[in-house]
């Protein structure tokens, strides 16, 4: 028995090593892509999100009606009304059309703050992590202060004080998401900073800027990016929530959160029409969440 298993185990070990070498020679991103391809959940989410994006971009071509044009005689029609497949809202505007157009603002308000926070947070986080010392202490203590607010409360407080409007909501949300990104960026940078190849680069005379640009950024951007994608879902929920409170977009602009808010009065008349915009928010948010989980696994990011 032992005579037959021993070579097989060694062979298996060799095969594993060969496969690892093959994967390594393909490069990191090829490996990531290969792993994503084998993950059906991530693929399905990516396809749904792409379809939604396409539907929003081509909204003027596929939407059956004008998103602002209402009609007093066709108010609050149920789902399945001829010519209005998803019914009409409290001003007689076509729901399907407004959902298609509404995604543009909802996605914009969900993604822009995270993208801005990613850029700003990475800058300060890498700075704090690489520089260490006093600079690290100042940046991290300021971060602690904003961490002391629950995220929804901070977003409501800032945009509530500044007043309603898309710019104010985006500003508030960006401020909410900078501290968590700084924390992640700082901790991964500290992990990379003390590795041998960074020491070697420094010893060979590379300046701080070069070391960060060439050796540090390549190793920290991945984990920070994965973390940032996991924030898009939260950001979209809070952004639509701000509009739901009347703090984000202003009527008559179509936006999912604001649509939920104005349709709330119709909840006793056309309950199922009234909850439709929320279905869109939910679908987007869950897809972004699962996509981020899939990316995290494929890119082998811990935490």
């Amino acid at each position: 028995m032992s005579l037959t298993t021993a070579p097989t185990a060694a062979e298996a070990e060799l095969a594993v090593q060969a496969r690892q070498a093959q994967a390594a020679s393909d490069g990191y991103w090829a490996g990531v892509f290969k792993r994503v391809r084998r993950d059906p959940v991530t693929i399905v989410c990516a396809v749904i999100l792409l379809l939604m994006l396409a539907a929003m971009v081509f909204a003027p071509l596929i939407a059956p009606h004008d998103p602002y044009q209402g009609s007093m005689i066709r108010r609050l029609r149920p789902i399945g009304t001829p010519n209005h497949p998803l019914g009409t809202d409290e001003l007689g505007r076509d729901i399907l059309t407004r959902l298609l157009y509404g995604g543009r603002l909802s996605w914009f308000m969900g993604i822009t703050p995270v993208a801005l926070a990613f850029a700003i947070g990475t800058f300060f986080g890498v700075l704090a992590g690489y520089a260490g010392g006093k600079l690290n202490m100042v940046i991290m203590r300021v971060t602690d202060v904003f961490y002391a607010f629950p995220s929804v409360l901070l977003a409501v407080a800032i945009s509530g004080a500044l007043g309603a409007g898309i710019e104010n909501a985006i500003l508030a949300l960006t401020l909410v998401f900078i501290p968590p990104i700084i924390r992640v960026a700082e901790s991964v940078t500290q992990g990379v900073r003390n590795l041998d190849f960074v020491d070697a680069a420094r010893a060979s005379g590379a300046g701080a800027f070069t070391v960060v640009r060439v050796h540090v950024l390549g190793n920290v951007l991945g984990p920070i990016f994965v973390y940032a994608t996991s924030l898009i879902s939260v950001c979209m929920i809070i952004a639509s929530g701000l509009s739901f409170l009347g703090l984000g977009t202003k009527p008559p602009e179509p936006e999912w959160g604001l649509m939920l808010n104005t349709l709330r009065t119709a909840i006793y008349v056309q309950p199922w029409v009234a909850v439709l915009p929320g279905v869109c928010i939910f679908m987007t948010s869950i897809c972004f969440n699962l996509l981020s989980d899939g990316l995290r696994q494929a890119m082998d990011v811990k935490g």
Partner: protein, 317 residues
């Protein structure tokens, strides 16, 4: 240990001060002169000047902050512009209502999350695990204000089982433990509980799976301990982290319940904030945010200390 306790409490003081400063700045960043937050817009110019001097608004910003802080520490959060009453008067009932809603939602979310997460962590890779993970992802991804609306549609509009609004019969804001009041609590509490449910499920699943992989569990099984006995060991090891996550979630719910409170017209801090935003009643906005944020700071401190006390492996000096 005692040294750590003292240091941790001392560290919370600058954080609390800085949080106070952020709340103070809220009125400063608001568009327009902060004086407009105190006097009605149609006040004559000399009255405006008088008020400006009375409130110290002609002094430099750091001095203003000091004066403001002095008042806040004495419990004076200013007066509401809309009602003219002290902010604290309305805020205290609001806090009580929000705290009760958040406590009920946390307990519910924590219980469900522990059950789901515990089962998923024990039977990793099973169908049960997948269902639990799916529920958790849905729980953290759902816009809870929308979930609240769906609940109202199902249980209030279609089935007519539970009331859709308020905290008691006739819109009363006072609480008592009878069915008429509890009935009003069910929908908002269930709605608010989905977020902690999702987060606790994820956390507990991770902790339990990690503990189950450790050698001492195998050893316990090997010496013939019953399932129940092993279970108790797992609970003891998982409790500190799970409780810490839950403690912070309670804080997030206190601050984040504004959306759910708006859906259900729950008379808490969220509804107070909502009306303050629309009437541009900045003193109420500032006071409410300040009290909620301070609550969160205190909770953070308590959770940290509790975790240290519960888990002897955490040695902090």
């Amino acid at each position: 240990m005692l040294y750590y306790l003292l240091r941790r409490i001392l560290y919370a003081i600058p954080i609390a001060l800085a949080v106070g400063f952020v709340c103070f700045m809220l009125v400063q960043i608001a568009p327009g002169d902060p004086i407009n937050a105190i006097v009605p817009p149609d006040a004559p110019a000399d009255v405006v000047e008088q008020v400006r001097r009375d409130y110290g608004l002609d002094k430099p910003l750091p001095v203003q902050f000091g004066l403001w802080l002095l008042k806040v520490v004495q419990g004076d959060l200013g007066r509401s512009l809309a009602t003219g009453r002290p902010v604290w008067a309305d805020l205290s009932t609001g806090i009580a209502n929000t705290l009760m809603l958040a406590l009920c939602a946390s307990l519910l979310g924590f219980t469900l999350g522990c059950i789901l997460g515990g089962l998923a962590g024990t039977f990793r890779g099973s169908v049960l695990d997948r269902v639990a993970v799916g529920t958790a992802v849905a729980g953290v991804s759902v816009p809870h204000y929308w979930l609240g609306m769906v609940m109202v549609v199902i249980f209030s509009v279609q089935l007519n089982w539970l009331p859709a609004m308020g905290a008691g019969p006739g819109g009363s804001a006072d609480w008592s433990w009878d069915w008429e009041h509890v009935k009003h609590l069910i929908l908002p509490a269930v709605t608010l509980s989905v977020i902690p449910m999702g987060i606790v499920t994820r956390t507990v699943r991770g902790i339990v799976a990690e503990i189950m992989n450790q050698e001492f569990i195998t050893a316990l099984r090997g010496k013939g301990l019953t399932r129940w006995g092993v279970f108790l060991h797992v609970v003891k090891n998982a409790a500190p982290n799970a409780l810490a996550v839950m403690g912070l979630q309670l804080g997030y719910l206190m601050g984040g319940s504004i959306l759910v409170e708006t859906v259900f017209s729950w008379p808490g801090t969220g509804l107070l904030l909502n009306s303050a935003i629309f009437q541009r009643d900045l003193p109420v906005l500032q006071g409410t945010i300040l009290v909620l944020a301070m609550f969160f700071v205190a909770l953070n401190l308590i959770v940290d200390l509790m975790q240290t006390a519960l888990d002897p492996r955490i040695k902090r000096a």
